[in-house]
Symmetry: none
Subunit: 238 residues, 2 copies
């Protein structure tokens, strides 16, 4: 799926940003980089900032115009910082990723110049504009950071489409049963009476709060064992 | 809301990354930057990469330890690249942003060194680990890019939740700070040595598991008081 997505950088000034973009892409499972008339390329700074994503730089397709970079694309999405005079279909990065997955077309994400973004003419070549929702008073993202955000959303979408949980904690020990938690709480109560922390005539608020605490924590069986071990060690002191 | 979120960078080597992180934060409406023993700071390179987010650099809080940076935090989320020996509650960036908005606590996002991330001990001070779902074969994001992704998810969450009031459980007692949890754990360790549950020569696995348990439970201040009361009652038995 991601092999249908290319990242197109137009007229990039700083080669470090090309390297940073390549790294961000590779981190997120993208590998097709197109460069439209980059100011400096190839460059050592790009290699350094790519931090291992050298293959993307080596295989980057360098062309002279946006038209060439997107010629075979069926879906073109251009990053846009500001409201346009003529409103255009506008999506946020998450909606853009949804679109890509829904349409399953040969897709280009187009990123403009560091200082001026894409021209109106370039933006008009795009089916959609995507806007990263920065704050109005400080709205311009670093180019590689913008590539990171869009690539991340594509990655999240691809993982969420496979199964609903992109990241899972595999716990090392089975969860405790309600009964095991009950026994531990009874043990705790017994020890708190022994140490005279609990007054047998007191209202039972304390035990209610301990129950809430330990149920909330969703104890595993090893933790139950540790807690009961500590309680037993207190009993043995007497 | 975002005024409750701080970004903590631990032992950053490259000042450019500090600048890039500041820019990413400001783009996304965050402004509280904490630096734990940065290698080079202040620096011209940080200023240059911050590209206007100079105020964040100027107001950055520089401290000597992670403990200081998170002392008053109630929710600490650390970035983690790999599976840990003892599994920890793990979320993806979107789930992390959900958590922040649901809990509405004084929150720290902690980012580790460029080459080695956070140490196990640092990760154990976190309630949750967050993993940016990079591809396994090329998993290490640039530091500023990682800050960008998390800040972006917080921003998206804040925009999406304008119209949807998050369901909130109103807790009856304020959440405990990281420092209060630390003191309670120190007290627990002392008592476990007293009762001889802990062997002073043993590896520290037990304390790590207790830390994980009690951080996961997100203790409130009353619960801290109860736990310490029980511990004190054990000390008085002898």
């Amino acid at each position: 799926m991601n092999s249908k997505v290319r990242i197109v950088l137009v007229n990039t000034s700083h080669p470090g940003n090309i390297g940073g973009a390549a790294r961000a892409m590779k981190n997120m499972g993208l590998d097709r980089l197109y460069l439209v008339s980059p100011k400096v390329f190839p460059s050592d700074e790009a290699v350094s900032r790519a931090s291992g994503a050298i293959d993307l730089l080596k295989n980057a397709v360098v062309v002279n115009s946006l038209e060439e970079a997107i010629a075979d694309c069926q879906l073109v999405i251009g990053t846009s910082a500001r409201e346009r005079h003529i409103p255009w279909p506008l999506v946020d990065p998450r909606q853009a990723a949804d679109l890509v997955y829904k349409e399953n077309l040969e897709t280009a994400f187009v990123f403009g110049r560091e200082d001026r973004g894409l021209t109106n003419e370039e933006l008009q070549r795009c089916h959609y504009h995507v806007h990263i929702p920065s704050v109005e008073t400080f709205s311009s993202l670093n180019l590689a950071a913008a590539v990171q955000v869009l690539s991340y959303e594509l990655r999240m979408k691809s993982l969420l489409s496979v199964n609903e949980q992109p990241v899972q904690t595999k716990w090392d020990v089975p969860a405790a049963s309600a009964e095991q938690v009950d026994y531990m709480l009874e043990h705790l109560e017994k020890v708190m009476l022994l140490t005279e922390f609990l007054d047998p005539n007191t209202p039972r608020q304390v035990m209610t709060r301990f129950r809430r605490l330990f149920q909330r924590a969703q104890l595993d069986q090893h933790e139950i064992g540790m807690l009961r071990g500590v309680l037993t060690s207190v009993e043995k002191m007497k």
